[in-house]
Amino acid sequence: MALSLDEVRRVARLAHLRLSPEEEVALAGQLSAILDHVAQLGELDVSQVEPMTHALAAGDAAPLRPDEPWPCLTPEQALANAPARQGTCFKVPRIIE
């Protein structure tokens, strides 16, 4: 199946990715080839099959842990990798004009 450039741009908007025109063209071709391969899943009748929604079998899932507080990052630790900060806040460009 061929993915159109418009479709590539629609998906890029959803994914918050800015693509160059060259990237759009390359991805249209590459994603189309991958989707062609993936289309083979359509050969299978899965109408009576439950989806595997969890990788641990039910009996293996860990019980919920007690709802008790435990140590978390301090504000300084949390802000240590911030590209920009002001006081104990992450600083971002203006949101509302």
Binding site: L14, V49, P51, A55, A57, D60, R65, N81, A82, V92
Partner: protein, 494 residues
Amino acid sequence: MTAPAPSPLLRLSLRAASEGLAAGRHSARDLTEACLARIEATDGRVGAFLHVTAEAARAAAAASAARRAAGRALGPLDGVPLALKDLFLTQGVPTTAGSRLLEGFVPPVDGTAVARLKRAGAVLLGKLNLDEFAMGSSNENSAFKPCRNPWDLTRTPGGSSGGSAAALAARQCYGTLGTDTGGSIRLPASFCGVVGVKPSYGRVSRSGVVAFASSLDQPGPLGREVWDAAALLQAIAGHDPADQTSSSRPVDDYLAGLEGGARGLRVGVPAEWFQGGLEPGVEAAVRGALSAYQRLGATLVEISLPHSRYGIGAYYLIATAEASSNLARYDGVRFGRRAAGVKGLKELYLESRAQGFGAEPKRRIMLGTYALSAGYYDAYYLRAQKVRTLIRRDFDAAFQRCDVVAGPVAPGPAFRLGERTGDPLQMYLADIFTITCNLAALPGLSVPCGLSAGLPVGLQLVGRPFDEAGLLTAARALERELGPAGAPAGLEAA
């Protein structure tokens, strides 16, 4: 000019290094200095390390030596130099995930597996090269530098844990951690002639490991010998309250029964894994390993995994869907790369992500976003999850008749750098035999079983859920029968 001869300590397995420490034949400092010198002498050509923490390693070695002198050694890993795929968060040490997006990121905490290795007294030498966000099969998607296969420097070490396998083959350390989402431990282990274990989903905590595809990701150990990988797994396995998907099942003793042999073992051989496309040298080595199991008293059982061929398709929908969600967190706000000179928050997201992500993460984010987008969910993601159920049922049925499933790790040995970078689908097909194990959430490993034209070949073993002990015992029996994988000579000659 000739480099100084490599220290004989570098020839030791982790086990022998550990036993030597206990017997006082060498010190943690001796091992650490030998590894650091080896990294210095060889890593310009190999490219396994992204970051070497020499001073921290020396301090850890000194602390280990002091514990040992006081009679308080912590166990088999105390004083043993190890290294970590740069996907594991390390407190105070840069963690990049192989991406420009995380360049300069210094985690405030250690991940659980890292903390457990430190508690076991291990000496951590640094952070290892990988494909960006663990997305790749050749380590060529590293944003920083290629990693090369020590057996042949024109070839890839496999990926995504390429540095983790190459560092062991180059004898730069005694054990490493990697992660495996679709084969990222087993493929490089096979290509580099070392042992790599992908534990059952939920056996090792994912807390503090940069997320790629959360229902498939699993950290695991690599070692030059089976015992080495088993000892590392022992240290990191077990329930972690910080990872809700980590299993609370008790952890088996992986070393106690390791020499139990293969007599009576039923080895399942799936017809689908031998149908066409196998490089002849790989097929010969794998079939040689199956014959070795027969000599050891195991029986070969023909089995069928009829949905194997749908694994790649299901995987590249599920893994990319989960990746598109996981990688949404990289928005340039709280950590990671932020684009300069942008107007407004939306611009900040778009530009920071455009500048930070390389081609492969972009491709996977796009595919995953498409598969999850309105109107396509049922046809792609939901269908893939149903196929995942069918793949798991294939294994459940097989394990009625056999104890382990055996076959190739990959269709061929290590391929050349640049050979597949132009064709993403060709690259994805390198994972054709490893991917179903992740989809089925089962434990799997790669153990060396010979050479094809001078390049290592790994045998893949897949086991029942949480039967890592059985899997390791089976691998050890083969290792003993076939003898050591040998070591690459190329590095010494150069």
